[in-house]
């Protein structure tokens, strides 16, 4: 059983990413469950979604210390969700900073050197500038798919499955750019 935690900020496209991931796992013949929270948390707050696949999956929810891979769309959220990663788990972190309102209204400070802090804690850390890759491609909204591309390197799924699910799941007009975004993430030197 493989347990993947995706975290980020409401509006970054974590839900779409975990949708695609789950559908790929299903297409590859695995049992899959996915869990996320809608409603109030989506309004610019921290968001987490869980995806678990394997021969037989019971819990849709990943408890603390259980995640095999943590994919973080934002650095502060990576730090926040760290307890969900198991001790020898792998973390992929998007080198991107989104100030929370508590920092913007300046009664708190955004921690410095988060990547360095994470490196000290997590042995298998992959840091990627997904926003830059997506911006170079011409649409920062594809950042989530770039990050999926990075994640895909560590998962046992065929590239065709990813691309075919992407084709079905993203808006028609953006199929090509999303496919390219995925492949760039997959090939990135993070």
């Amino acid at each position: 059983m493989t347990k993947i935690v995706i975290c980020g900020v409401g509006g970054q496209g974590t839900i779409l990413a975990s949708d695609i991931l789950s559908l790929v796992a299903m297409e590859e013949g695995y049992d899959v469950k996915k869990s996320e929270v809608h409603g109030m948390a989506q309004r610019g707050g921290s968001v987490i979604s869980n995806c678990v696949f394997g021969e037989k999956v019971y819990s849709p929810l990943i408890g603390l210390g259980e995640g095999d891979i943590l994919l973080a769309f934002e650095k502060l959220e990576a730090l926040r969700s760290l307890p969900y990663l198991k001790k020898n788990g792998k973390m992929i972190v998007n080198d991107y900073e989104w100030l929370p309102i508590t920092v913007a209204s300046s009664d708190a400070t955004y921690p410095e050197n988060i990547i360095k802090t994470l490196k000290k804690k997590v042995e298998h850390l992959i840091c990627v500038d997904g926003v830059k890759i997506a911006a170079d491609l011409g649409n920062i909204r594809t950042t989530n798919v770039v990050l999926l591309g990075v994640l895909a390197r560590f998962l046992p799924f065929k590239q065709e499955s990813w691309l075919s699910v992407l084709e079905k799941r993203v808006p028609k007009k953006t199929v090509e750019i999303n496919k390219t975004a995925f492949l760039l993430g997959f090939a990135s030197e993070a």
Binding site: S35, R43, Y58, G63, L64, G65, T102, S105, K121
Partner: protein, 596 residues
Amino acid sequence: MMISEGMPSPYSVTSCLCGEFLKWDIMRKFMSGNEAVARGAYEAGCRIACAYPGTPSSEILENIAKYKDKIYCEWSTNEKVALEVASGAVFAGTRSLVAMKHVGLNVAADPVFSMGYIGATGGFVIVSADDPGMHSSQNEQDNRNYARAVKIAMLEPSDSEEARLLTKLGFDISEEFDTPVLLRLTTRISHSYGIVNIEEREEHPPKGYEKDIKKRLILPAHARPRHIIVEERLKKLKDYSNSFSLNRIEWGNREVGIITSGVSYQYVKEVFPKASVLKLTLTWPLPDKIIKKFAKGVKKVIIVEENDPFLETEIKAMGIDVIGKEKVPVTGELDPYILKRAFGSSEEIYPTQDIPSRPPVLCAGCPHRGVFYVISKLKLTATGDIGCYTLGALPPLNAMDTCVCMGASIGNAFGLERALGDEISDKIVAVIGDSTFFHSGITGLIDVVYNKGTSTIIILDNSTTAMTGHQEHPGTGRTLMGEETKKIALENIAKACGVENVYVIDPYNLKETEEIIKREVKRREPSVIIARRPCVLMVKSEPPLVVISEKCTGCKLCIGLGCPAISIKDNKAVIDKFLCTGCGMCAEVCLKEAIV
């Protein structure tokens, strides 16, 4: 038709229900629990479905709307109305479903109790989506207690496939036993996805309406014999529960036996793969014989359930010694880690980091912000209500004092005024959303007028039900089925309720908003101020604003708006061009004209 012990798997159960052998070419779909309930209702031949949106239940009706050629569906004004409309359809022998969040069932409780006596001529499934962990709710009430109180059957799915299956079964049980059936979901059932095997729809044409006042006109004289019938029905349901194959014993190691239901079953299977498990699915009335048999077969019984000790209390009353809430937390939701911890695991995990929180916020450009900014500036007491706008309570706006339940803001403001008189009447407003006002604000407003109050009520009209995902409501001019309809104007309602002072303002216009609110709180008559502007997520953004760095003095007045697009860098305000919607409120508050 009915299922009983000896049928090996849920799938063969389904094929029996359909009266045909299992088709292996069934389509497999990845569905949320809510989608699966909608699919189950469609497959069961449901014809009428009603709801008021509420997280985590909202997507049930949104998905039922995909089958609108077969199912009439509506956003009802509130949960009580939803339940009454569905009940009317049930009188006509039509399979009907009503869905709501846990607290919605409180609103609908009056007709629910009556329908418990009246029964169900057509299959009647009442879906309650509870929210352990309070992801998007004001309390953690456990609606399993309603099944016991109303004396009706309850089903608890443990994943999406069961959500589909039990919705279908719910209609059958309902008709067989002449009872509404409570389908109890939780957030992790509603919003988790799993693989579902979908089947064809079976048609159940309406049986037709036949007048039967002894059954449906529940005067005391009619209700007394109905109560006897209800008690007899409960006995029959208990026998059925004892033969229900999804109340299932999975024998394993006999040292420990775990009794569980709903999503907790999944956590138990994952954390204790070798234990004996009694998975309860029809959880009211409980299958006493199966429970006793299971308890006899194991050395020690543990009960794993979220929130209230519902199973625990009942099973203890059967004279069975169990371990329950002394180990398993009564507050919050469960997950595999919490369960492991509860039973002694001390696995090492990364500690929680001490970092700034990231609470949800009013979106950049949210029109509610204008009203809250003014309330905050004028230091008014604001009784609040339920919706996105409850976020106006958070810093830096801090513009809401209370939030009790749907519609409470108006009564609360009036009560404060009555208690404190002049001390508060010039400094208080009630703040309520448009959808919430239709839901249960109107009766409060009538109360203020009738009882000679002077309250100022601000209706935040963003022309949608935003918090739950932009559902239509009586003020939007469209129905759930996508049809155009009469648009009910808030100002007409306010006037019809007898309010003479009704004003419509644009909350982006801070100056006007401040003037009118200031004037109306002082008025010794009731006023209704409608702050009207559509939800920013539904309209095209204006070009983003920018800060002229040379003019900015870093005074942070703009920060007081609590807009997520504005932050301070190197003692100057900066606007995030991707988040800014160009609403212009920050430019209005800036005294240095540094924002353009």
